[in-house]
């Protein structure tokens, strides 16, 4: 059994840590590329959301490398993600490229289902070892997010963005290869030391909140590397969702008490008083939070036809008006053009800078 799983940003590092320490044989799909998109788009339903198409492309490419089993997460609605696996399986079967699918999701009837699935993947391994593997993967998730957070902070400030990217790449690669927690701490220390050698500009910098559907927020390929584009335009980006927070919420059910999304739902209540699946309510709530914290703007990303985010997008103008925070929404799919995105981002940054300047003059 050779297991593969879809890409979502740096998720591969975390899942690889988990599976290899459980002794599972795995085949990582090649990094998401134009070819992945083409494969996915060719076979996926036309109006399916972008992540489904990319995942499907990942699976097909992994299959070429010899994978025969897919491990992925599921859900119980109302977001379409919960039915991805079934549709993808149907498509793969029709193509004559059947693969086994193990979908980890809240069980319909009893938790035994989940247990059986885990046993099917890892075989006869003690629960203590499974626990240790999960803990190890969790450390990696935290380490990855620490690096990402630092990079988001430094990008607008550094004079040498390319050196920073190089440090980031190195750090992520070393985290991926690290075999215990001590090593990871060392990597983070090295990374911080490297960053300290970078000469920095002095502020103030525009601050932008980055909100939206999780896959498009976390996967730089899907959002056309928007975080980096904004950083290079001199904007400090704050993400509303981090990988570790997502793992904590969805897989551990909030056991570890990392800052989660509950308080954000409360902030969203005056505007959107019901959950709408996916991250719709979180998008509205995070925008309110960024508004309260005096951010200069919010960039909102979502896959084209994403239902929860369309609801959120409909509501954002009201939030924008109440808190005086401009928002910009991007719907992303295979048709999005890089130049168009860059132009819109530049215009948005100019607008925010002008607003800030105007406010400064008013306060004088």
């Amino acid at each position: 059994m050779k297991i593969t799983y879809p890409h979502m940003g740096n998720l591969y590092i975390v899942v690889r840590a988990l599976l290899t320490s459980l002794g599972v044989d795995l085949v990582l799909p090649p990094p998401t590329s134009r070819r992945t998109v083409e494969l996915g788009v060719r076979y996926a339903p036309e109006f399916a959301c972008f992540p489904l198409k990319l995942n499907l492309g990942n699976f097909l490419e992994a299959r070429e490398l010899g994978a025969d089993t897919i491990l992925m997460a599921g859900g119980v609605g109302p977001c379409r993600f919960g039915y991805y696996a079934q549709v993808q399986k149907e498509i793969l079967d029709d193509l004559g490229k059947s693969m086994d699918m193990v979908v980890l999701e809240p069980p319909d009837v009893s938790w035994r289902e989940v247990k059986d699935k885990i046993r099917y993947v890892v075989g006869d391994i003690s629960w203590w070892r499974i626990f240790k593997a999960i803990r190890f993967a969790w450390y990696k998730a935290r380490a990855v997010d620490t690096v990402e957070e630092r990079v988001l902070f430094l990008r607008p400030r550094t004079y040498e963005p390319y050196r920073l990217e190089e440090y980031r790449r190195q750090a992520l690669r070393r985290i991926d290869e690290a075999s215990d927690k001590r090593e990871m701490d060392e990597i983070l220390r090295d990374f911080n030391n490297q960053c300290r050698t970078l000469p920095l500009k002095s502020g103030p910098f525009l601050r932008v909140g980055f909100v939206g559907e999780i896959f498009t927020v976390l996967e730089p390929f899907a959002n056309y590397d928007m975080e980096r584009r904004l950083g290079l335009l001199g904007v400090e980006v704050t993400r509303s969702i981090y990988l570790s927070a997502w793992i904590n919420e969805h897989l551990f059910g909030g056991l570890l008490r990392v800052k989660g999304m509950e308080h954000v739902d409360k902030l969203a209540a005056p505007y959107l008083n019901s959950f709408v699946g996916g991250h719709g309510q979180e998008t509205v709530g995070s925008t309110v939070e960024f508004g309260r914290q005096g951010y200069d703007g919010v960039v909102h990303v979502a896959p084209f036809t994403c239902m929860p985010e369309i609801v959120a997008h409909s509501i954002l103008p009201a939030v924008s008006k109440d808190y005086g925070i401009p928002t910009l929404t991007f719907y992303l799919d295979e048709q999005s053009g890089e130049a168009g995105i860059q132009t819109r981002l530049e215009a948005f940054v100019d607008l925010m800078a002008a607003r800030r300047e105007k406010r400064r003059k008013e306060n004088l």
């Binding site: 079934q86 498509i91 319909d108």
Partner: protein, 341 residues
């Protein structure tokens, strides 16, 4: 007399008889927006988000049409009408979208209907909340929802006997099932129509699809006529329980159609960018091909749809079926039936 407005869109096609009976019994006047026309659609397109689907945009139009004529707008927040299932996310945030985008609306009644809220939550609990807005007389509310449930039962009975929802809404209690069946079973071809009621039965945005199919000499059966328990048992066959109630009705009806030997073809009407339908439609299309060997056509509508294009596709589809019917028994010397002239 207090006036409550119900937009003729989305859930109207599922629950109007239920709601109408309830409000009428409460001595509240129900005002329904007129049938869709160009003005309503344009108003909706202007006010709703561009990325929303056509039915949601249309809903905005209907709300605007009602907004200065009523005291309350009835836009209940239907989250989940069956255990572990949801209505579409856009329905769940409908009232919030309206408030955020349309200022100066009359108060919106957006009582939530969510079966997971507490054990045994059902229409009576929902109506108690809604009724308390208008009266403190609990007996009156009880009487009202009893007659509402009665009206709903009657409506579903007419649907199951083959009447289409708009016909069943107009038909009084007097309409017998025999008469209904005779309406349903005319025509040379039998075509199954799939698609959400709010697309299918709004003859403006569906460009009178049902009428057109009938004109081409086909009788029509829709998902509305498939009884709930049959849909329930059909959807048991799915690889995983489908968590959209409306999508489940479509896929259950499709599976029923596939087993119906008298059916000559299936047309699936969907709106551009419909989330659940992008996956449900895909599964139905694939299964139509290799499980049922049934002619299948997917029609996607949005505000730009041209009527001529639709007519052409419908003609081609029905022609194809007619030829297939005619030559079905022709077996070529090489052993394969040939569906051509």
């Amino acid at each position: 007399m207090i006036k409550v407005g119900i937009p003729r869109a989305l859930l109207f096609y599922y629950y109007y008889p239920l709601w109408r009976a309830f409000f009428t019994e409460l001595d509240v006047q129900v005002i329904v927006s007129p049938e869709t026309n160009k003005r309503i659609l344009d108003a909706g397109l202007r006010s709703a988000l561009g990325e929303a689907c056509l039915p949601v945009k249309l809903f905005f139009g209907h709300v605007l049409e009602l907004s200065d004529k009523v005291d309350y707008l009835f836009v209940p927040r239907l989250i989940s009408v069956e255990q572990k299932e949801y209505i579409c996310p856009k329905f769940m945030g409908l009232s919030d979208m309206l408030r955020a985008r349309l200022p100066n609306l009359p108060p919106i009644i957006d009582t939530a209907f969510d079966v997971s809220e507490r054990r045994g939550f059902d229409w009576p609990h929902f109506f108690e909340k809604v009724g308390s807005i208008f009266t403190r007389d609990r007996h009156l509310i009880k009487r009202a929802y009893c007659s509402a449930l009665e009206a709903d039962k009657n409506f579903r009975r007419l649907l199951n006997s083959g009447l289409l929802p708009p016909e069943a809404m107009d038909a009084g209690k007097g309409m017998s099932e025999a008469a209904a069946t005779s309406v349903a079973s005319q025509g040379f071809l039998k075509i199954g129509l799939l698609g959400h009621p709010y697309n299918l039965y709004d003859s403006y945005i569906s460009m009178n699809l049902i009428g057109k199919v009938r004109q081409m000499g086909a009788s029509v059966i829709t998902a509305a006529s498939v009884p709930d328990d049959l849909i329930e048992s059909q959807t048991k066959k799915l690889p995983k329980r489908l968590f959209w109630t409306l999508g489940k009705q479509m896929i259950g009806a499709a599976l029923t159609f596939f087993e119906n030997e008298q059916l000559d073809g299936v047309i699936y009407l969907t709106s551009f960018g419909c989330g659940p339908e992008s996956l449900v439609g895909e599964l139905v299309e694939r299964w139509a091909k290799h499980r049922a060997n049934l002619p299948f056509m997917m029609l996607t509508i949005d505000e730009h749809t041209g009527e001529a294009g639709m007519v052409t596709r419908l003609e081609a589809f029905t022609e194809m079926i007619k030829r297939r019917k005619k030559h079905e028994n022709y077996v070529s010397a090489y052993g394969k039936p040939v569906h051509c002239c």
